[in-house]
């Protein structure tokens, strides 16, 4: 019984070795300043452009534990804050990841915040302004956040659903950092290092990425992310022929539409 409670307890991740993060602009300095001033941070940008990696890197830099929550549409307030469980004859309170992060003075990263239910998002409001408290209603407790607690959320503005937009009352509590795919040479460096291919191959992959991003709005919702390019690189490093690797990891991963798939194949063939 006790064991099952512990597996439900949030994981406080301690990051001891430096996660590789290639800084693009002044985001590291800005984040550090926000952390020093106890300001919450919003990371805006398309999927797979390094937001999660950046947070991991900053947690390491600031030497704070990290709690990551991937938001989804069944995520309830209790999932974040905590709940009573009945164990044998008694009820036992178990902190949710957000409460645990507040108590531990950790960085709490809510990935893809808009995916969460609207009524869930509201619980972060008092944590994200000058009050810096978390209301644990079920226990009648107000948990004050220590100075080292930091709230970080991410948001993909390219997301299309009207049901999933971040409300102004939420977003205006955050310092917003814009993320995007880095310029070609920098992105190639990242792809080479993370994907295990040489610079020449990485450059070609990034070129393909650019070509697919050109199709955004003209048939594609989003072009290939750095993550997809890294996937292709990893397949190549594992011995798959480049064109086949890109077809599988990039072209097929981007869309199902038959015409668009043809076009993506054409682009792959142009690059390799």
């Amino acid at each position: 019984m006790k064991d099952s409670i512990h597996t439900l307890a949030p994981q406080l991740q301690r990051i001891d070795s430096e996660p590789y993060y290639q800084s693009i602009a002044d985001e590291v300095t800005l984040f550090e300043a926000a952390a020093a001033r106890c300001l919450p941070v919003l990371l805006k940008g398309p999927t797979g452009c390094g937001k999660t990696r950046f947070v991991e890197h900053m947690a390491w830099r600031l030497k704070r534990p990290l709690v990551t929550v991937a938001c989804h549409d069944d995520l309830t307030t209790a999932d974040l804050v905590g709940r009573y469980l009945i164990v044998g004859n008694e009820t036992v309170w178990v902190d949710g990841p957000l409460t645990a992060a507040v108590r531990a003075g950790a960085i709490c990263y809510l990935d893809e915040l808009v995916e969460a239910r609207k009524d869930t998002i509201v619980v972060i409001h008092p944590l994200a302004d000058a009050r810096r408290v978390l209301a644990v209603d079920k226990r009648g407790e107000m948990v004050a956040a220590p100075a080292s607690f930091m709230l970080v959320v991410s948001y993909n503005p390219g997301y299309q659903s009207v049901l999933k937009e971040i409300k102004p009352s939420t977003r205006q509590r955050f310092v917003a950092l814009d993320f995007d795919y880095p310029e070609a040479a920098v992105e190639a460096g990242i792809v080479a290092r993370e994907g295990g291919v040489d610079t020449e191959m990485a450059k070609r992959l990034v070129k393909l990425g650019e070509l697919t991003r050109n199709l955004k709005g003209a048939g594609l919702d989003e072009g290939a992310s750095t993550r997809l390019l890294i996937h292709a690189a990893q397949l190549i490093a594992a011995g798959i022929a480049p064109a086949a690797a890109c077809t599988a990891a990039v072209a097929r991963a981007l869309c199902d539409d038959a015409d668009m798939t043809d076009t993506l194949d054409d682009l792959v063939r142009a690059v390799f």
Partner: protein, 703 residues
């Protein structure tokens, strides 16, 4: 032995004459001819079963269009099978039906009857590729390469060329081993032309191409110089392409083959990554000092510096042209009456009683001249006196004064007036657009039912998919956590514990609230340009949409828009929010037709207002149009309309309405990104995709 066993064991045997006859009689039953199938059936008996089946299938298809054609096909079949293989027979039958669709029964009979001439064409047909076959895919490919839409067009010269805005390709290419090779050649030609525009063949800030070609311009050497430059640039551009796109480079090289000896000297020099047009021009001077003719390359494209430079100049002069046209319009209307530019005649008048201008405040000039005068005077920095009221507080209201009250009859009074954004003055024109709302007149009764039947399988599939999106209020029992105790679970748990078993900890009930609170407005282009395909696709798309949305339960409405000048902006009701998807709505969907012009801003503003009255938490506006905003007269077309539409979408967004814009435009267009600024959008190059696409888009927007 069962009868089905009998059938399958003998399915490869030939059909006997009697069997053929009865099938043919059934297929050709409606034929006005009284010829008997008996004679032909006897002839067909000798054919193998596969050919008999093929023929019966084609005859049935043909007979649905015209029994005579079906009959003819059957009669000619033995000859046709003797002349063609299976694929050839299919092509022959299909060509016959195509001819019927395009040119009627006589043409079809001629085509089918002349087996020999079809045969010759068919045998050669394997090796040619037509522009239409490659255009959509090639156009997307170029969009990928360049990140901006480049138009594709058919070249009227003998060769491929570009004017730097459009790539002109031959109507067809022939003489290939297979169609793949033909498509490859098209792609290579298009890429070479794209490269001309992308890698600076027509000059740059530092290199003036016209000046560089000056020594040979209007001399007998002119053509030789241009041809040489084209060849030299082919070397440079190929190397430049290979640098970024090695795969493409290899394929160009394969089509190109060996460099001709006359170019070999230059290859090394022009293949350097740093080579520019300047290097090609230097080489050109040397080539021209000799008297060799320019080499003919297999993937040669024409170079037309004059055309490209002209287009560029044209771009710079565009504003002046607009100004001149405005002056002409002003002169024309203040002179004799009844003289109108024939190009400006409206596509269809919306009821004679609503002549534009009749409602107009100043009612002196016809609307097109008025628009032109305004445009002109504003460009000159002076505003007509009646508009010299500062915009902003709604101080200016259109009044009837100038028209001495004679127009303020109720039938001409607009239902609403809307402001319009004038980008030149960076302010609104107050109450500028007169909006009228009316029902779409009922169309053909069986239309929607027809579409439903045609797409029955698809509709079932869509309904299932949309049902999955539906979020209902659910009460979940036996949860580890929740707002209430689940009594059943609690009793079980207590009982378990009494009996010494491990009790479950899932003893709560939790309510999942319905998250869907979405109202969607669909705004459908009913302008004249949608006539034909686009209109058909729109109506089919709406049927799909209604069928899908009905199973989802979101509130939705459908309105069409069109109009004819700012004093006649029409909004057509197809389905109101509070209306059910019933017979009346179906009849109105059927009745949607192409009307006049596309003044988009006012339509967006009005439908946004309707949306705002919906109690939903989320509001979505989906617009469907087939090109640039446009209206009668010069004013709305062009930049003004784009800016007003952009503004209207921004206003919608500020009021909490999210917009998604679907544009049907085969050629893509570079103004869209700007115009749709605040909204998300997509461009469809193929109108036939609309019915599927629109439901798909909605599903993504609303999940």
């Amino acid at each position: 032995m069962t009868s089905s066993g009998q059938f399958s064991s003998s399915s490869a045997r030939r059909l006997f004459a009697a069997e053929l006859e009865s099938q043919l009689n059934a297929i050709l039953f409606a034929s006005p001819s009284h010829r008997s199938a008996a004679g032909i059936a006897a002839e067909l008996e000798a054919l193998p079963r596969s050919q008999q089946e093929k023929l019966l299938a084609w005859a049935a298809t043909a007979a649905q269009t015209d029994a005579e054609i079906g009959h003819l096909m059957v009669t000619l079949a033995p000859l046709a099978f003797a002349r063609f293989d299976a694929a050839g027979f299919d092509a022959w039958a299909l060509a016959g039906l195509d001819a019927y669709d395009h040119d009627g029964a006589e043409a079809a009979k001629v085509l089918l009857g002349d087996l020999e001439s079809f045969g010759t064409r068919f045998d050669g047909g394997k090796s040619f590729v037509r522009f239409a076959d490659i255009e959509p895919r090639l156009s997307r490919f170029l969009q990928g390469l360049s990140g901006r839409p480049l138009s594709l067009g058919i070249s009227s010269k003998t060769g491929a060329w570009t004017d730097s805005e459009t790539i002109f390709l031959p109507p067809q290419l022939e003489g290939f081993a297979d169609t793949a090779a033909g498509k490859e050649k098209y792609q290579v030609l298009a890429v070479m032309l794209w490269a001309q525009t992308f890698f600076g063949t027509f000059g740059s800030a530092n290199i003036d191409l016209a000046a560089a070609l000056q020594p040979w311009t209007e001399t007998p050497e002119q053509q030789r110089a241009v041809d040489w430059l084209a060849a030299l640039e082919a070397v440079r551009l190929e190397a430049r392409i290979s640098l970024d796109l090695p795969g493409l480079g290899r394929r160009i090289a394969a089509v190109r083959g060996q460099w001709p000896t006359s170019l070999e000297n230059w290859v090394q020099r022009l293949e350097r990554p740093a080579a520019t047009l300047a290097d090609s021009l230097a080489a050109l001077t040397e080539c021209m000092s000799g008297n060799l003719a320019a080499p003919q390359l297999p993937h040669a494209v024409l170079l037309d510096p004059a055309a490209a430079l002209k287009i560029r100049a044209a771009r710079m002069e565009r504003d002046q042209v607009v100004l001149k046209r405005a002056i002409n319009a002003l002169k024309g209307s203040s002179g004799r009456s009844g003289q109108r530019d024939p190009n400006m005649v409206p596509l269809a008048a919306v009821g004679a009683e609503a002549a534009p201008g009749a409602l107009d405040e100043s009612a002196i000039l016809p609307p097109e001249a008025q628009a032109a005068a305004l445009s002109l005077q504003q460009d000159l920095g002076e505003l007509p006196p009646e508009f010299q009221v500062p915009a902003g507080t709604g101080a200016w209201r259109p009044t009837r004064q100038d028209a001495t009250g004679e127009c303020s009859t109720s039938s001409n009074e607009p239902d609403r007036r809307y402001d319009e954004w004038d980008y030149r003055r960076k302010a609104y024109r107050r109450g500028w657009c007169h909006l009228f709302e009316a029902d779409v007149p009922a169309g053909a009764a069986g239309y929607v039912e027809d579409v439903r039947q045609r797409y029955a399988a698809l509709i079932r599939q869509l309904r299932r998919r949309f049902e999955l999106l539906r979020g209902e209020d659910r009460l979940l029992g036996r949860q580890p956590e929740g707002d209430e105790i689940d009594v059943d679970a609690m009793v079980d748990a207590l009982a378990d514990r009494r009996s010494g078993a491990e009790p479950s900890t899932r003893v709560f009930r939790r309510r999942i609230r319905n998250q869907r609170s979405l109202a969607a407005m669909f705004m459908v282009d009913m302008s004249g340009s949608t006539k034909g395909w686009v209109n058909d696709a729109e109506r089919e798309a709406l049927v799909m949409l209604c069928e899908s949305l009905e199973s989802l339960g979101d509130a939705y409405a459908i309105y069409g828009f069109s109009g004819w000048t700012r004093t006649r902006c029409d909004i057509y009701r197809v389905k109101r929010f509070d209306e059910r998807y019933d017979q009346d709505v179906c009849a109105r969907i059927a009745g949607i037709e192409a009307k006049d012009y596309t003044r988009m801003g006012v339509a967006i503003r009005h439908l946004t207002q309707l949306l705002l009255h919906q109690p939903a938490r989320h509001r979505l506006l989906v617009t469907l149009s087939d090109g640039r905003p446009d209206d009668y007269g010069d004013e709305y077309r062009g930049h003004y309309g784009v800016e007003d539409t952009r503004r209207a979408l921004q206003e919608a967004r500020e009021q909490g309405v999210r917009s998604y814009c679907i544009t049907i435009d085969r050629h893509g267009a570079d103004y869209l990104g700007h115009m749709y600024g605040a909204a998300r959008y997509t461009v469809l190059d193929d109108v036939k995709k609309l019915p599927l696409k629109i439901t798909d888009i909605y599903r993504r927007l609303a999940s």
